[in-house]
């Protein structure tokens, strides 16, 4: 038994994945907050994490909880001015596909979470179910429904181009 690796190695290995998940769940504006909250909480709890635990699943579970906190905080401070600003184009200067963010944001929460945790977080459906509740099969159905909804309603999103037939 070699004990725990330094937390720095956890951030290096999973930082990008957690960012994708946060961005999918929270959108581009609050993704940074979600990421920070997730890793601060993870650092705090890290010494008690059992050796051999699935670190990615653990991080996604924390990100899921923190996303709920961030969303509530956003709702409390929300004003009309804080709405997403108008976008002249769906494609940002850095090439990012904002349509995809917008498309994800319209999914029902469970579908969005199932899609994000399975496809972006890399969790098997069993782990997705542990995070969002319900059975593995229900998690699989939610993800499939989410992808189907994205295909049906947002054919313009880059990921789904050519996938509409």
């Amino acid at each position: 038994m070699r004990g725990k690796q330094p937390f720095e190695a956890v951030v290096a290995a999973h930082g990008a994945t957690v960012y994708r998940v946060c961005r999918a769940i929270l959108g581009p504006v609050d993704a940074d907050d979600g990421w920070s909250e997730t890793f601060v909480a993870a650092l705090k709890a890290y010494p008690e994490l059992p050796d051999g635990a699935n670190i990615e699943a653990w991080l996604v579970r924390i990100a899921h909880r923190k996303a709920i906190d961030v969303t509530r905080a956003r709702a409390r401070r929300a004003t009309p001015v804080a709405e997403v600003p108008e976008r002249p184009s769906a494609q940002q200067a850095d090439g990012r596909d904002l349509d995809l963010d917008a498309a994800l944001a319209t999914l029902p929460p469970r579908q969005r979470q199932a899609v994000a945790y399975h496809y972006l977080g890399g969790l098997p459906y069993r782990e997705v179910a542990a995070v969002i509740g319900g059975s593995s099969d229900a998690a699989r159905r939610s993800a499939a429904d989410g992808i189907a909804n994205l295909r049906k309603h947002y054919p313009g999103a880059t990921a789904l181009k050519g996938m509409t037939r």
């Binding site: 990008a16 890793f39 890290y46 496809y119 993800a143 990921a159």
Partner: protein
């Protein structure tokens, strides 16, 4: 085959999904280190510095410098040991080590003869620790023998143990084990290798 279809779509989705850039992740990491430090969660902060004896790893607890490591010791290995012996709450966080890095720069530039940093020698225990506690008595530019250090630590016959204490010094350069040499005047071994020891002795002789 049935499970393959949604996977293909999912893969396309992943491929199109925006990734954080290196710069963004770097900025997020920096903010994480600051927040962790402010909340008392950063048990060990580390950074590296480039010096004439190679890249040195510096690590500090909230109160003191606890480790200086040569590349030959394996920096990943050293961090793994710190995780096991001190705490796994370790982040690359250069800010906490600004003073240590500055003093090392000054030392290697020949503008500093002693270090003015809080030190933590708890990674060394027993007789080894007694030996290391005596090393700061050796003035810049001077050398003493392993036998003399063993005697100063209270056990004149433990010459070999004194050499082991120096070889396992957790704070080389800052705690000057390089100033301990063999009785015949030759430099002897060194945690950073014989060439690094010669470099430090030449620097201090200048």
């Amino acid at each position: 085959m049935t499970s393959d279809q949604p996977l293909e779509i999912g893969d396309l989705f992943v491929a199109a999904y925006p990734d954080a850039t290196e710069a963004e992740l770097g900025r997020l990491h920096e903010r994480l280190a600051e927040r962790a430090d402010a909340q008392g969660l950063l048990d060990v902060a580390y950074r590296t510095v480039d010096t004439p004896v190679g890249t040195l790893l510096l690590a500090a607890t909230e109160t003191a410098l606890i480790r200086v490591a040569y590349e030959t010791e394996g920096h990943d290995e050293v961090l793994a040991t710190l995780a096991a012996r001190i705490s796994p709450r370790i982040l690359h966080a250069p800010g906490r080590l600004d003073a240590a890095a500055r003093e090392l720069d000054e030392y290697f530039a020949g503008r500093r003869r002693g270090f003015d940093l809080p030190l933590d020698l708890s990674l060394s225990t027993g007789f080894r620790r007694l030996v290391l506690d005596r090393l700061s008595d050796i003035a810049y530019g001077h050398t003493v023998s392993y036998a003399a250090v063993a005697a100063a630590a209270g056990n004149p016959r433990a010459v070999r143990a004194a050499a082991t204490a120096c070889r396992t010094n957790p704070l080389p350069v800052v705690v000057p084990c390089h100033r301990v040499v063999r009785s015949d005047g030759s430099a002897g071994g060194y945690v950073g290798g014989p060439a690094a020891k010669q470099t430090l002795l030449r620097l201090e002789a200048a």
